[in-house]
Every structure is written in structure tokens, then in C-alpha cells.
Symmetry: none
């Protein structure tokens, strides 16, 4: 029995274990889930031990624990640091899930549950790859450090603090992450670029209390109207972001890269079907792929104020709120951008409202030269796992940790994703294709096996 | 002993009775209070009987009972229909009340309890005026019909149904209502204009499901952005409503009325203190009083979409929602306005979102010629009750019943209010100034007495 056959033989066992992991509602954003988040950390630690890691730690932090494990039994061989996260996004709105978010269910070759694609399913791929490799070969053949955090969905603050204080301990020849997507079904992919992310929240206060819209309407500042007018001014008619200086750091793509990206087997029809809206908005002068992966954005993520119940309430609310974010591309500086955004928002607002402006998180964009040998190893491992040639892509999402690790350790970061763009990460009915989960375990096991000869 | 002296002699008795009425938590919106609402109806019926009305009915409806009474003992004399409501708003949030909502308490010359100003206290003023008049004169001197409902705070559906089926029974020479406010403390007031109200709700759908703002951001329609851009286009830079045809029906105020309104003892400082915002927005070219009472508005009453929880969620929502309303002035036609608003909203929206547009309610504006003799009688009666000249004011709010009655019976509607703008109707610590409650009884008794010579 070779490695691939051994992994095939374990499919049911692997899937059952993953479902156990997915049943823990480890929602890092909600304080009522703190015990679940801790339970998920213990689950990861226990399963690393089962996969043969002798040194496993659960590291308490100011918020959610980190899990660290290492297997340094291959002197002279390369050392990799595998990173992932065991926390998940909130499952709301719950009523839009076909089956409950924390009761994993297989339908049409897909496994549905919060965290399947982002990122528990992908973390589990590595756990099972380690386990399979050790079972086959009696060891991993390389040195492995594993760092799994519980705050990825809320800004990774504790992780970063830990990394800064443990640089020597975490040192490796490469960083490996599976928290991204394949370009499309049947197209194994390696991601070499990510957007950065700044996340903001604003609260506008107009009247000191909610007012009757009949008695006061027409003569007082309505913070919801002012909030609308604010956001209407943040894009110009070409859908460029209308904040002075916002594009100053943006690197222009080379003609070669632009051509390569636009030649990928990216299917506009699949994208449109996944989105399902009647038309598409975006910055003028760029293709959809370019807009998604290589251009910065400003998106409203949430907005609320006033009466949201049944029927009519004739109120002018005291407060209006919005959460919004900017995706950033090389070489925009997140801190500089945060300052520009706040300054411009304050400039646009009338004096009749008080504005509380918060930057909830900042994160740098990242892109890598994918010609390094380890990228070629990843490409061939994916071909072994999926029987198809892997492509090099960028992504619109953000993994701040990748940038930070890259900046800190100056080593290659290899992003091998097994999700798909339409698998509803962060939305109801999140899922992962079982063929990618199982193909992922095979690919990653081959990848680690092959790294011994790097 | 004259009428005024008799009323003064009864102060303690009147107040004790009002407190009894206020202790009944007749919250019409809450089904658990249904027995209390019925108890309040019986209380009103009993007290009408005590005030000498021989024919008193409690009329069951699909929801809460109506109370009807009549005294038609003055052939050849005018007939008035007095309207009021015995139901109250919910008392929540309870913890913001200084003393419990249904335990009436006097502090600093004010009586605090839910319903003091809106509308039990004002209904009681009329009950005590009837009683005093009959005790002094052996009769009312005019013909009186009384209609007190228990659904004013939940839409008056049963009332309107009853009125339509009992037009002959309810016929009168004038409608008298006390459910409004005085301009300010020490300024007895008669309201001769109300704004109409159309209330709308829209739901925009962009993507078929919530999307990850990293994976999709920059290339898909964000319904929150589109909603913001929509509302930003509904006012022009002078804060006029930018909907074609919206102002077509608006009657231009005469120079005389404009001057009269701007000469009222309306105190900008009191208004600003009540609002508490740093600046004031409104349509250019009009004073605050004109904006509040005589100009139409478009106000957002509620808005929501996307993530509203703690922390960050990087989502592009599928849907965005808003509740908004237009206050209308003579002679805007609510149905015509609803059509104009919907047409323009649909025109402004891009094809990338689907819009569900609902009109939740429509209501006509109203204004009366206050030169009619009955208004002069009201003015002089208020002067007898308060020792101060009464002013004629308009209000920004809406009382659909007044417009409907005016349209149905084509008779003068006299709105004599004894509340004050800052008495927290619909909010915690609702109260009525005792001087206005007692002054109200005197004024209304004189008013009814004087109507015999109309």
C-alpha cells in the first residue's frame, strides 16, 4: 500500500473526525462562545498528539489560546512552519442555512458546516497528512512546527504578540498555509498574492436621543441620512475610491503578469452564477480578475440605525453605525491608509454629528515570487494529489499573518488552498468539496514527503 | 360660586380620579394587557355615566372596545363630537422611569405616569369639564357625542371601521380633540394644521447570498453602498427633496401666515436643548418653525444590512433595508406622492440590485381656517382658563383620524392640546404639568358653555 492508497483507505475515518471538529462552534467574535473556542483548541492539541507530535502546547493568551506543536526529528532536513486557524466566523443569519451550521452534513459530494472551507477542513487536511506520512514512513522526513490560532477571524492579535516573543522558536525555512481557494473545481492552485485588510467602525451621533419624526422631522440632523451621504462620497463615478492619496502606493502590474492573470482558466460564468446579481460594479479600466485580486476596495460590511422591527415607527434615531473595510494591494501601507480614511471621513461629515471612528484591525497586502524551488515542489505535489497541473493565482482575501511572517522571517510562504470561491466562507451554507478535502490530504502528504529532498 | 371657582374647589378630587385612571396599564400593543385595556374602557364608561351621560355604550371590536356616549338634550343647539383615546404606549424601557410608569407621582408641579399627556390626562380634562358644567348649570347647554377608542397607539383600525358604519350617529357640527401639545409652558394653543405621513419600506437585493468581502470585494454590487447612494440622491444641496413633482401640490404660505408663525413665542433655545445636536439641518429658505410645521420632509427611520455584531465580519451582504417616511403638507396627495417616490427610487437604482418597495401607510395632511367662529370661541375659552391669550399653531406630527373625520363630515376640527413638547409622550417619565391639567378643565368647561351661543 503506497501513501495515496493508505489515505484512500482512511476516508471514512478522516471524514468522521473532521465532523467532530466542525461540531464545536468555535466562534471567536462572540464572548458566549469562549468555552467552545477553548474546546476547539484542546481538540486540535489532542489530534496533533494523535498524529505523533510529542511536544504539544496549548498557550493561553489575552483572548483565545494558541496551539503549538513540533516534530524536530530530521536533523539536516528542511524545517517548515505550518499555520492555520481553528476559529470560525459567526454563523448568522441562521435561518439561511439549509442544515444547521454546526451539524456537518454531506450533500452532492460536499460537506456543509461553518468552518469546512475556512479553515477547520483545511487544517484537518494537514493533520491527516502528517498522520498518514508518519504511519507510512515511521516519521515525517522533515522538521515540522505547527501553529494553529483561535483569533484569525477577529484580527490575530495574540498570535502576533506570540510570534514577536518567540522568533527563535518559530524559525523555519518556509511557511505553509492552507486557508485559500483553488481557482475553480479541478484546478489545483497555489496563491502568490493576497490583499491586505483594514477594518473600520464608525458611530455617528446626531440628536441626544431618538426623536419623533413628525415633531422634529425636517429641522434636525438625521444621522442615517448623513451616513448615507458620507458613503455616497467615498467612490467616484468610475467606482474609484475618492479618498485623497488612497492609490499613492499602489504598484502597477507588469504587462506579463496582467496577461498571465487574464489567461487563467477563470470562468466568468461560474463567478456570475456564484454572485447571482443582475449586474456587476467595479473600478473602470480593469478586468474582473484584476479587480478581485490586484485592486484595492472599500466595502460597507454592515450598517444600522433606527427602527428595524415590524411595521412603522416614526423615529429619527440618535445614532447611526457602519462597519466598513478597505482591501489593500502592494505596496499600500495599512497605517497610512487608516489615517487617510479617517481624515477624509471626518472632513466629509457635517458638524451636526459627532463621529466615533475606530480602526478594528489593519493588515498588509502580500505578493511573492513564485519561481522559488519550494513553489515548484508544491506544484508537483498537487499534480500527484489531483492528477492535474496546478496554476499560480492571487486572491482578493487577506491573511495578515502571511505578510507578517514574511516580513519577520523573510522566508517563502506557500499558500496551497483547497476551498472553492463559491463555497460560502463567511456565509450561510459554507461547504467544502469532498474531492478537494481528500485530494488535499494526498497532495499535502506528498508535498511534505518531497520536501525532504528540497 | 362660579364655574372656575367650582373647578378649583374640586382639584384634589379630580387629581385622585385621574390617578385611578392612570393606574390601569391599558397598553394596547401588548396582548397580555388586554384585560387592563378592557378595564380602562369600563372606567371611562363609568365616569361618563357619573358625568351625567345617560346613554353610554362599550362597543366590542375585533381588538379593543370603543366607548361611546351621548347627551342630546339641547335641541336647536350645536352638536360636538369629542374624540380621545384611553390606550397608552408600552412603558418600556422600564428602568429609565424615575418612578414606576403606572404609579402616578407628583414631582415639581408635574404628574408622572404613562398616559398623563398622551392621552388619558387630556381625556380626563373633558370628563371633568362635562361633570362641572352639568353640576353648575344642570346640563351641558349643547349636544355632546363622545367617542373614546382603545387602539390609537396601534393604528385605530376598529375606530375607523366604526365611523364608516355609523356616519349618521356620529354626525356633529364640530370635532373636538385634545391629543396635541401647547407651543410652550404658559402658552395655551390651538392646532390648526397637521402634516400627513407616508411610510415606506425598501429591500435591496444584490448578490443572491452574503459574500466574502475579500474574495468578491471590488467586483460585485454591494447593496449597502447602493442604498447609501440612493438616499444621498433624495435631497439636493439645499436639503430640498430631489424627487420630481414632489413639491407640485405644496401650498405656498401667505405672507400673513408666515409672519404669524414666525412671531409665535417659540423658543429656539428650548428646541435646541431638547434635540441636543451640535447643528441643525433643514431646507434652505425656511425658519425652523416653518420647516417643522409647514414643509414636507423625507426622513430615514431605520436602516440595516450586513453584520451588526461585535468585532469584524468581512461580508458583502445580499440585502440592505430601509424604512423611511415623507411628512406631507397641504395639498400634497399621499397616493400621488407614494407613486412619485417609488418611481424615482426605482429610476435611481442600478440594475444590479432588485428592489422590493412597500408603502406601509399613507395619511393626508390637514389644515383648517382658524378664522371660523368656533376657533375664536376656543381661543377665548383658553384665555378664561389660563389667563393668557391663546395662539394658533401647527404641528409637524400626524393624526390620521383628524383628516379622515374632516374629510368624512366636512366640519371644523378643533385641536386643543394641553401637553407640552418635552413631556415625553412615548418615552420614559411621561408627565403632564398640573397647571395645564387644571387650566385645561377650566378652559374646556368654558369652551363647551360658550358653544351654546355659537
Amino acid at each position: 500500500m503506497n501513501l495515496a492508497e493508505r489515505i484512500d483507505a482512511q476516508r471514512d475515518q478522516h471524514l468522521a473526525e473532521l465532523c467532530e471538529f466542525l461540531r464545536i462552534p468555535s466562534v471567536s467574535a462572540k464572548s458566549e462562545h469562549k468555552p467552545d473556542v477553548e474546546r476547539a483548541a484542546r481538540w486540535v492539541a489532542d489530534n496533533l498528539a494523535k498524529a505523533g507530535f510529542k511536544s504539544v502546547e496549548i498557550i493561553p493568551t489575552g483572548l483565545h489560546p494558541l496551539v503549538y506543536a513540533e516534530s524536530l526529528e530530521a536533523p539536516g532536513k528542511p524545517t517548515i512552519l505550518f499555520y492555520g486557524h481553528y476559529d470560525v466566523q459567526p454563523a448568522e443569519p441562521l435561518d439561511l442555512w439549509t442544515t444547521p451550521a454546526f451539524e456537518p452534513t454531506v450533500r452532492d459530494g460536499n460537506l456543509f458546516a461553518r468552518g469546512t472551507a475556512d479553515d477547520k477542513g483545511q487544517v484537518h487536511i494537514h493533520l491527516k497528512a502528517f498522520e498518514s506520512l508518519r504511519a507510512m514512513n515511521g516519521g515525517l522526513g522533515i522538521n515540522v512546527k505547527v501553529l494553529i490560532e483561535g483569533e484569525e477571524e477577529v484580527g490575530s492579535v495574540s498570535l502576533w504578540d506570540y510570534v514577536q516573543k518567540n522568533r527563535e522558536k518559530l524559525k523555519a525555512d518556509a511557511l505553509v498555509v492552507s486557508d485559500t481557494s483553488m481557482l475553480a473545481k479541478g484546478v489545483p492552485s497555489i496563491t502568490y498574492g493576497l490583499r491586505g485588510l483594514n477594518y473600520y467602525q464608525i458611530e455617528l451621533t446626531g440628536p441626544v436621543r431618538d426623536l419623533h419624526s413628525g415633531v422634529y422631522g425636517g429641522a434636525v440632523p438625521n444621522p442615517l441620512t448623513i451616513l448615507s451621504e458620507l458613503f455616497a462620497k467615498l467612490h467616484d463615478k468610475n467606482f474609484r475610491i475618492a479618498i485623497p492619496g488612497f492609490y499613492d502606493g499602489v504598484v502597477k502590474l507588469s504587462a506579463a503578469e496582467r496577461k498571465a492573470l487574464n489567461s487563467l482558466p477563470w470562468k466568468k460564468k461560474d463567478f456570475e452564477r456564484a454572485v447571482g446579481a443582475a449586474g456587476y460594479d467595479g473600478e473602470k479600466g480593469f478586468s474582473t480578475v484584476e479587480r478581485l485580486w490586484t485592486r484595492p476596495t472599500l466595502e460597507i460590511n454592515g450598517m444600522w440605525g433606527g427602527y428595524q422591527g415590524e411595521g412603522a415607527k416614526t423615529v429619527i434615531p440618535s445614532k447611526a453605525h457602519a462597519k466598513f473595510s478597505t482591501r489593500l494591494v502592494p505596496h499600500q501601507d495599512p497605517h497610512k491608509i487608516a489615517k487617510l480614511v479617517e481624515k477624509h471621513v471626518r472632513k466629509l461629515l457635517p458638524k451636526s454629528v459627532h463621529c466615533k471612528f475606530e480602526v478594528l484591525s489593519t493588515g498588509k497586502p502580500w505578493s511573492a515570487s513564485f519561481q522559488a524551488p519550494i513553489f515548484k515542489k508544491a506544484q508537483s505535489a498537487l499534480e500527484k494529489g489531483f492528477g492535474k497541473r496546478a496554476v499560480f493565482i492571487r486572491e482578493g482575501g487577506s491573511i495578515p499573518f502571511v505578510t507578517q511572517m514574511h516580513d519577520t522571517f523573510q522566508v517563502p510562504c506557500v499558500l496551497i488552498g483547497f476551498g472553492l470561491p463559491d463555497e460560502n466562507a463567511h456565509a450561510p451554507d459554507e461547504h467544502i468539496a469532498l474531492e478537494n478535502y481528500f485530494g488535499g490530504i494526498k497532495s499535502i502528504a506528498h508535498f511534505y514527503a518531497d520536501l525532504a529532498t528540497l
